[in-house]
Symmetry: D3
Subunit: 302 residues, 6 copies
């Protein structure tokens, strides 16, 4: 396994600047934020464009990476491809296709994204949406030789995302249904263990049960605010007691998690996703957050 990072946490830096810092600080791979270069959504932790897939200069991108000894773990574009607004939905899917094409041209062959969800629909009609929209996307990716790693985030942290969250693919039962409905090797997981902590889902069993479907790994941690849990309970879903932290500061058992990945034969990138508010605000703080993550994970990634 290699240690990487998701570039979205550095919206003010160029890809070359991110690559400079990452390579100098022990990271070996970048997961490159690939939102549209203009008009992207303004959601927290999103909308960053470190590779403009609409005007892709393959050679320039590869030069940035190669010259620093870095690889690209995947292109990252996490919109809601099933947004209730048809225009937003269409735009997201169209851009997702561009990202897939870019991944093929860059020979990365892996795109990280969300399955999305019309947050206003209950589970079954929301799932029906998936079955309508996603098979063509999967076929498109397969035709380009690109695999898609779906992140398992419920995408519900604020009232704006209530009630269903903007990403349906958050539980073992749903993954199983997705993989049955869209067989083949194209669709897999971008597994982020932090989302399992707040769902009270056994992380190690997920790694055992879905090992061969893990195409990418997000390293993020989660602290449960126990007073918040007492006050609000699990009915409040993602709001009130789930605190994203840098890896090593929360409840993910990183040694056992990495041990499980090794046993499952995973040999890809562990990509640090930075959403810890204690390490935000200026670039130096963001970097310190990444360093802490590196210090946690580096000893386990030999």
């Amino acid at each position: 396994m290699k240690l990487g990072l998701l570039t979205a946490a550095f919206p003010s830096l160029s890809l070359a600047e991110v690559a400079d810092w990452a390579a100098a600080n022990g990271f070996e791979a970048l997961e490159i934020a690939s939102w549209p270069s203009a008009g992207a959504e303004r959601r927290r932790y999103a909308g960053v464009c470190h590779v403009d897939v609409g005007a892709l200069d393959v050679r320039a991108v590869r030069e940035v990476l190669d010259s620093r000894g870095l690889t690209i773990s995947s292109l990252a574009y996490y919109p809601n491809p099933l947004d209730p607004d048809p225009a937003v939905r269409a735009h997201a899917q169209a851009h997702l296709r561009k990202v897939i094409e870019a991944a093929a041209r860059l020979e990365v062959n892996l795109v990280g994204t969300f399955i999305g969800r019309d947050q206003n629909k209950p589970l079954e009609p929301a799932f029906a949406d998936v079955l309508e929209s996603w098979p063509p996307l999967v076929k498109f990716a397969a035709d380009h030789g690109v695999r898609i790693a779906i992140e398992n985030c419920p995408m519900i942290f604020t009232d704006d995302e209530w009630p269903g969250g903007r990403n349906l693919a958050y539980s073992p039962a749903l993954w199983r249904r997705l993989f049955e409905a869209m067989p083949g090797e194209t669709l897999g997981l971008n597994l982020d263990p932090s989302h399992l902590v707040w769902q009270f889902i056994d992380i190690l069993r997920v790694v055992r049960d879905f090992g061969s479907r893990i195409y990418h790994v997000h390293a993020k941690d989660l602290e449960i605010n126990r007073d918040g849990l007492y006050e609000n309970g699990v009915m409040s879903v993602g709001m009130g007691w789930q605190v994203p932290r840098m890896p090593g500061l929360g409840e993910v058992p990183w040694n056992r998690f990495i041990a499980g990945l090794i046993a499952a034969g995973y040999d890809g990138v562990v990509s640090v996703e930075h959403e810890d508010r204690a390490f935000e605000g200026d670039v130096e703080l963001v970097k310190r957050g990444f360093l802490l993550a590196r210090n946690t994970l580096r000893p386990l990634l030999v």
Copy 2:
């Protein structure tokens, strides 16, 4: 404390028949189902009418109870008083007022119900609904010398109740806000510990923190299906892993719970609410379920 039961589990028996059986089997109080005699909702565990508050014969009801040495713990009517359909909402509130009047006339002075919720609204607008509809209801009850015990059930067990559930009053944070918004002694809790189990909310702390607000107690247990929790996680809220059981068959620590109630000065009724599917189907099975509950609770209620 006394041991009681909620009569709604015996829809096919008359009040007198329920009273006969209860008194003969060690119960001391009835929580009488008071849905409308006609046209009531057909929700599972609801719609039962053991006292017709539209045509109340106070003397007859009291005679049924007194002759068997039983008391009434409260009148029970659990609709959604904030139903999104204005007609349903108006009907529920109108009937609730009749139940309150009946409780006053019967000198029971306690009504158990739900705060309700427009299940389609997020928390804050749903809470605004409460603040609009409930103060007049609380005043009506206070004017009749009747207290209202709100059950803490999230009322979300099926897709029909998705996404918000039909009862907003499910967490300490929300109870606190409710009691602050509607001060006075009229509003309190009908505390059912089973709902706290599946919300991962500390039952004993609830008893300590809200002791003086506990006006009635529902004895119901909950078994967590651990495989279901793994498959679905807490995002699935009330669906997929929460199994209502008779008291003694689940994860509620009854001795510590009753100990807390004693310490909090609660001296009302512990009323068994029967929603265990393993003891349903015919009246004999239902009775066996109540007997198991009695065997669990009787030794603790001296």
Copy 3:
């Protein structure tokens, strides 16, 4: 479910005497010890003959039970039908057939026994023995309309039973193989949760996974001597730290276990098996042990 007891703990009493005491003390069923009337093995807790299947007087036996309002839960004969000594093995199988015939004639239709094991063979050759010897026995039982409940005891408590124990059917993996190898409804489990405690096997999951195969239940508890476990570890298998106790005195969670049985649809007998050395030595002590078990289980069996 009914509460019963295994009569083998009363070797000095007649069946009528056992029935007298059991009926007078809240038991509803007997699991009748059916070892040969003469020449039986002298193993602790074995060799007792309360029904002489070699000279069966059906009417007399039924009269003893019926007159006291008791039923027979099963006939009990727990030898090693796969004893390494061919003579012992043949004798055990021959007598087992007689017990099966008796169960049919008595209309009990259930026999509790061990699958047995040549204790000196490793797992696979020992399992091969089972596949050779048991199909004819199963067919014999099926032909008589009798089901066989295999107890899940590893039968290794002393050096005499070392190294393999005298009963192969002790784990979920082995039960699964047995039921696959001998399909049909004849073979099931006589589930004793105490043996799962010392094997560190999740009791509640066993009930969920094998619910329909539970034909009979032994109520016995187990205390783990933690100092003994430290000294010897699990390599010492059944020797050194497993202390059989009356139900309620050990680590079996009886409420959750019975709750699981109810949910699984089990409606047979929970039969107390008495192997608690603290309640042995004279008949009065033995009876006190049974009373303690009754006090633990009776409230849960409604």
Copy 4:
């Protein structure tokens, strides 16, 4: 084992009245409060005189007990025999001798008391006091054929008892030293498991390690107020978070505790000591507390 109660919780009733109620409610033995009939200390739960050892009428006392089928488990006198005030100390020891004599004359042969402590002395000088004062008391008891059961209460619940508490015999290390310093069979424990809960001492290990020294058992439970523990920590010793409760309402594992006693061969009385403030104030409440304790313990004492 038999179920008994300590009569001190009924200061306003006569011995005969206590005996009436106890016998009618399933108790089999009394631990009789034997403080001086006049001038006794006014400590909470102390100072009660149900047998006036200064004017003992053996026949009358036995008649009260025998006529109701009760036995005496021990005479109870729990002063501080090592009080820093020499007069108080002398008086306590003098009265203790009278209680011993009374126990001999009543053929009870067991006295429950405290070892006491000069609360102002650190451990070693306090222990030296014990070695000076107690050997003659032990000899006196032995000469009368009476055994002494020392309760393991630290006797520190208020500032008045600060800093050392008024009873030194509260831990395994101290019991061991006491029994080594005063060998023979006269001195043993009146084991109250509730005091071990708040000392975080393993109850079951105590039963295993000191089984033969358990001469009497107090059944009392303890609830740990977890908020109080957070606020004050264990430096506050007995003040701020230890809540005495009736057996069954706290953290003592009664089934495992009784199981341990059975295995240790204890066959004496389990005597309910009532110090639960939720069941005090009038005699009816006190009785309800005892009934709850009885309901908890009765099923385990066969």
Copy 5:
């Protein structure tokens, strides 16, 4: 946050020698032992003088630090300012004032000390002492622009410190009273999580509840000797089962603790306090202890 160390563990080295070693081994700050240069107490871990506040050469001290790129986290002087001996008490307070003055002159502006306690007084009179002696000290510090960080050690490890310990400020309840009695920003905590382990006080809740009052942090770990706890129980307070260890060798969850500090906005020094007897005896061993602490903490302090 920066990594520092308390120089008191190097009594035989000069400040410059300590600074040399610390800077060369990854430490960024020193907490300088500031006991009187002569006549200081001879308590273990105390009495060391690395800055002679009675003859302070500001420029020389700063030169030692600056030249090695180190900062001073605080001046450390941990006497008992409320010693029962008036002379000792007066001397301690007088020297404390000198240390405060020195901290101001050195522009460190932080002094770490104990609140102290007359160990022979119960809590309330001991607290009254605090209220009498401390307001002038707090005012003195405030006048000099210096904050005081009170360490939360109960200071009771031997009979000499029995019964009350020599530092009253050991629990949340007491800190809360102290901060209410002496409002303003002068007084805060020098939080040492190891003392919370042996008081069974939730470390993470302390960080949440008192975050803004944490002015300095001591990194020390604690191992609970479970056999010692069984033998002695918590009545023995600090004696018999609490083993100070280097950070990483005990029960403090360092990642969660540091995570809490980050979330609380703490950005000061984490100063390793060395009291691990397994790493004492010669300077090399002491250094190895510090290195182990550094290896534990360094990855978390970015």
Copy 6:
């Protein structure tokens, strides 16, 4: 303590090659595989010969080590010296004597081996074998000034080793008997904590109880496959749920384990034993496994 490794994981490299790599990667000591140079057993992880004790060139071996700044922690030869086949047994003991002589000549003075066992014999006769064979071996070692460190592995991972395993010295009870039977300082433990995990034996208590007998330490970890444990239970001994892992990937609490060793005064080598199948197959993978182990242990070994 020093960090070392057991060379047996590198059968294809020469001692010099192993030493090169170890020294360059932070290891300080080698535990040198000393099986016979020819005809050695072909068991997994065995049979490697990095020092040919039959043709020992002391100077050459020392040169390899000294030139790279490495020490030898012990010579490693783990056969079954009590093999049921007399020829195999004799050969093993003969070679063990040669290894002992070599250890003396190399001035290592420590040999790691198994006590062995005739796996077909029950405990007591197997123990009798030990008492017959081992005293002369111990005497031989003592005469050469060499200590013997017995590894605590039960040596039962396959049916071939069933039923007793090939090494009797796996539990505290057995070590105690061994040390009593063969007093003196020659015999001690080569403690591998991973074997204690799967025996459910408290690792930290072992370190406390046997500290002075720990002559060498193997660093290996163990993951318990919880599904495998459910399926097979502990009756399956070493087969079906115990997964050897590199240190840091399993359930051994390395910080507490090393803390215990430090407190016990152990100052020898912690030697990584590599049996993690996820890091096998080619030399690079094997090295990565060792690096992960180093990263786990290095920070704790100062």
